[in-house]
């Protein structure tokens, strides 16, 4: 029989306001096995933990129930406290009477009754707990970074600088990501390429960094400290070792009708291409879908003009299998599709563009060589209207509920740059709110208004109407003046909402990392563990976790790197001892459990079994505790009921069911 101590936390008034903690103590004392029960203001505090230690000593406790916040919050705290007090940490159970009780119920009677029942269930479970010892697993001292934008590059560099090998997997032909498409960056107006390309070069030159471009993660198995990842290196059709990056192939390629991804479709590229001049690696790829050679078998111009003989039409996709201790996701973002936003006439007029397209228009390497001009007729615009929150803060199903965070600032940047370079151009910004928290951000926005006389109008735009003369009629509302506005513009720029890059869901599934309804990866704790995924060994860097600007992305990339380094620096990891265990007397060696195990943790061995005095050789299941992750699939599938999960055993869960339904 266990000797159980029950500790009920007030959590200040968080619990005590809707749960009569004294009553919980009183009822807990009546439960079998309970030899001690008390309540305290803050159980997680030093003094609270002392109380537990004292009770363990005085009452000779063998099990502990803490009625407090979620086990996801403080289970580790109390397990460690138990360990210090001399009890096995797995003899602790938490009754979640805060998140699952006091915070959601208003009536004190109702809250108390439920808290008593939850405590009862935890006590019933602890009565059946057994001490467990964690095992050890090794750590592969190599990290994988998925995504080669500024987030991925920064994370990789930080990890590599700490002395660990890092691989970057980037799906496009070059690293650089969205930042490489930007012209200038706020709030300093640095040239984006000038600050990014040195980092790209540094990553490529770093002896600990290995870059796989035009590659994707194909398969992930394993777990924290020891992931096995298949990387699919797509056929580039160009031999990376032979290519000198001269660019003649792209120049001579007769197929120049593919919209350039890098220039957001504003310009065409050849079928063999490097996305941009500073691409790393500076080796082109053949886009097989658009290449005449691959479509018809007749062309081969690039091969003929290549002095180095680097063109290889026969190249195949390659699968590279590598082991990693940590994985960082840095997959970034894209802008949303505007097909459902007909009112802005984005698909009707070439002069309605997104802000990312404007970045390309204003960039010297862009489709207009950096000249601000209308894409329809090449004329210089005189009147430009910016529309904020296109698809952001939009509760209809076509948009995104969240604020994309970067648009207010980049629009101020665009407005300022345009007014600076073309003082005769009028710039109007329609906004819902101007949100500029951040160092030197509001000052930056005020400069746009005060120094550059950008006309900010609080109100939304209802419709953009292309006119016969090529102008755009913008119909909006000025909320502060309470009047309708009809404005003629030459160009309209849409601050389009951002969303996670399309492939992220697939990656999250492979990593078993959780994802929210907007496809942003979920962090382990929104405040305290912002760069870790709930899946151990998976870290989050950049916009894949939520909208961010460049300074924040770089900061988070560094934070993710530190977390990964912290993991890689360990030689061994403690494994979760809540693993499956076969009862050899019951097991008949049928293999059903091995078939459902996602980790291949179950093997079979021939073993002499002493079945109530009868000794015989039998085939029985054996669980490799280093591989078992403790999901429990095998326990349910086992037809003879031989498989059980330690820490969540059949008897423990049934005891909880009984306690709740009593």
């Amino acid at each position: 029989m266990q000797r159980i101590g029950v500790f009920v936390c007030h959590c200040g008034s968080n619990i005590a306001a809707t749960v009569d903690v004294e009553k919980v103590v009183e009822y807990a004392k009546l439960e079998p096995g309970v030899v001690h029960a008390e309540d305290y203001q803050y159980m997680c505090s030093e003094a609270g933990q002392m109380k537990i230690a004292e009770a363990v000593k005085d009452k000779n406790l063998t099990g502990i129930v803490v009625c407090s916040c979620s086990p996801r919050m403080h289970e580790t705290t109390f397990r460690n406290a138990a360990k210090r007090a001399g009890i096995n940490p797995y003899m602790v159970e938490i009754a979640n009477i805060r998140e699952h009780c006091s915070w959601i119920h208003k009536d004190i009677e109702e809250g108390t009754e439920k808290a008593v029942i939850l405590a009862r269930a935890a006590i019933a479970k602890v009565n059946l707990n057994a001490p467990l010892e964690p095992g050890e697993s090794r750590v592969t001292k190599r990290a994988l970074v998925i995504g080669g934008g500024i987030a991925g590059i920064q994370t990789a560099l930080d990890i590599a600088d700490a002395g660990y090998e890092v691989d970057i997997v980037e799906k496009t032909p070059s690293i650089g990501g969205r930042m490489s498409q930007l012209d200038k960056t706020f709030p300093t107006l640095d040239c984006s390429a000038c600050i990014l390309t040195p980092k790209m070069v540094e990553a490529a030159a770093h002896e600990k960094v290995n870059i796989y471009t035009y590659s994707e993660v194909d398969k992930v198995s394993g777990f924290v400290g020891d992931f096995t990842v298949d990387i699919k290196k797509k056929a580039r059709s160009v031999d990376m070792d032979k290519c000198t990056g001269c660019g003649v192939c792209s120049e001579k390629c007769p197929m120049k009708k593919t919209p350039s991804e890098f220039n957001r479709g504003l310009e065409n590229r050849s079928a063999i291409y490097t996305p941009f001049a500073q691409a790393i690696p500076n080796v082109p790829v053949i886009d097989r879908e658009n290449c005449i050679m691959f479509k018809t078998g007749k062309c081969g111009v690039c091969s003929k003009v290549c002095q180095a003989g680097a063109i290889d039409y026969e190249q195949q996709d390659e699968i590279i299998t590598e082991n990693y201790g940590a994985i960082v996701v840095a997959t970034g973002f894209d802008t949303i599709k505007l097909d459902d936003f007909d009112e802005y006439a984005y698909n009707q007029s070439k002069d309605v563009i997104t802000s990312l397209e404007l970045e390309r228009v204003m960039n010297a390497a862009g489709p207009t060589k950096g000249h601000l001009e209308r894409l329809s007729d090449g004329k210089a615009p005189k009147e430009i209207v910016f529309i904020q929150c296109v698809g952001s803060r939009d509760v209809t199903c076509r948009g995104k509920e969240y604020c994309s965070k970067i648009c207010c600032m980049y629009t101020a940047k665009h407005a300022m740059l345009i007014r600076d370079k073309y003082p005769d151009v009028n710039v109007t910004v329609f906004y819902i709110d101007v949100r500029t928290p951040g160092k030197n951000f509001d000052e930056f926005y005020r400069r746009a208004v005060e120094e550059y006389q950008v006309n900010y109008i609080k109100g939304q735009v209802g419709k953009v109407m292309p006119q016969a003369d090529g102008k755009l009629l913008v119909q909006g509302v000025d909320l502060l003046d309470n009047r309708q506005i009809l404005k003629e513009a030459d160009m309209v720029v849409l601050a389009t909402a951002i969303e996670p890059e399309a492939g992220v869901r697939k990656i999250a599934t492979m990593l078993t990392a959780s994802i929210d309804t907007n496809d942003f990866l979920t962090e382990a704790h929104p405040k305290l563990r912002p760069v870790e995924s709930p899946t151990a060994g998976v870290f989050l860097s950049g916009v894949c976790q939520g909208p961010k600007d460049i300074p924040e992305t770089v900061a988070q990339a560094g934070a993710a790197a530190v977390k990964a380094i912290g993991l890689l620096a360990k030689d061994k990891l403690m494994t979760n001892p809540c693993t499956a265990k076969a009862d050899e007397l019951l097991c008949n060696g049928c293999s059903t459990c091995a078939n459902v195990c996602p980790y291949g943790a179950i093997t079979y061995e021939e073993k002499e079994i002493n079945d109530h005095g009868i000794r015989e050789n039998r085939r029985v299941a054996a669980v490799n505790t280093a591989l078992c992750q403790g999901c429990g699939a095998c326990t349910v599938t086992c037809p003879s009921g031989a498989m059980d999960l330690q820490g969540f055993s059949n008897r423990q869960i049934l005891a909880e069911v009984d306690a709740i339904c009593r």
Binding site: R72, A508, V636, L654
Partner: protein, 146 residues
């Protein structure tokens, strides 16, 4: 003779997987999204840990409804666990329906760690359904009754 008009307080057992739904329930809690106190949550590592035996036991012991919550299909922390749950429970639930425990009393829902709102609305909806169905009398161990 008067008919005793006792308020029906259903017993609802919710099995929640540790990685998604339990966290979703925590989020519902920290967001103060109320649902009836009749719902009591049992934490399991994965929804696939829920043995049909547990569900039967709950009904036998007087539960009026049992709900299982796990990660969305494809998002299981253990890759495939919730697929087993889905198959096992659809079999179990149809069998339970056959023996008189109506389908409304059993449910499988996918709730992610970010879906506090979904957790709360699901539980409110389920509790409402159980209220409308009334007490479970089919599987309850009659020896337990007064």
């Amino acid at each position: 003779m008067s008919i005793e008009n006792k308020e029906f307080k259903p017993k609802i057992v919710a099995f929640c997987c540790n990685w998604c739904s339990y966290a979703g329930a925590d989020l519902a809690g920290s967001s103060r999204l109320a649902y009836p106190a009749d719902v009591k949550i049992i934490r399991v590592p994965c929804s696939c840990r829920v043995n049909p035996m547990f569900v039967l036991r709950a009904f036998e012991k007087g539960a009026d409804g049992v709900i299982l919550c796990g990660c969305h299909p494809g998002d299981c922390h253990y890759t495939t666990g919730n697929y087993y749950t889905r198959r096992r429970m659809s079999l179990l639930f149809s069998m339970l329906d056959f023996i008189g425990v109506e389908n409304g009393r059993t449910r499988v829902e996918w709730v992610s760690a970010a879906e506090g709102v979904k957790f709360s609305t699901t539980m409110n909806d389920f509790a409402k359904k159980i209220h409308s169905l009334g007490e479970n009398v089919r599987l309850g161990d009659i020896r337990c009754k007064n």
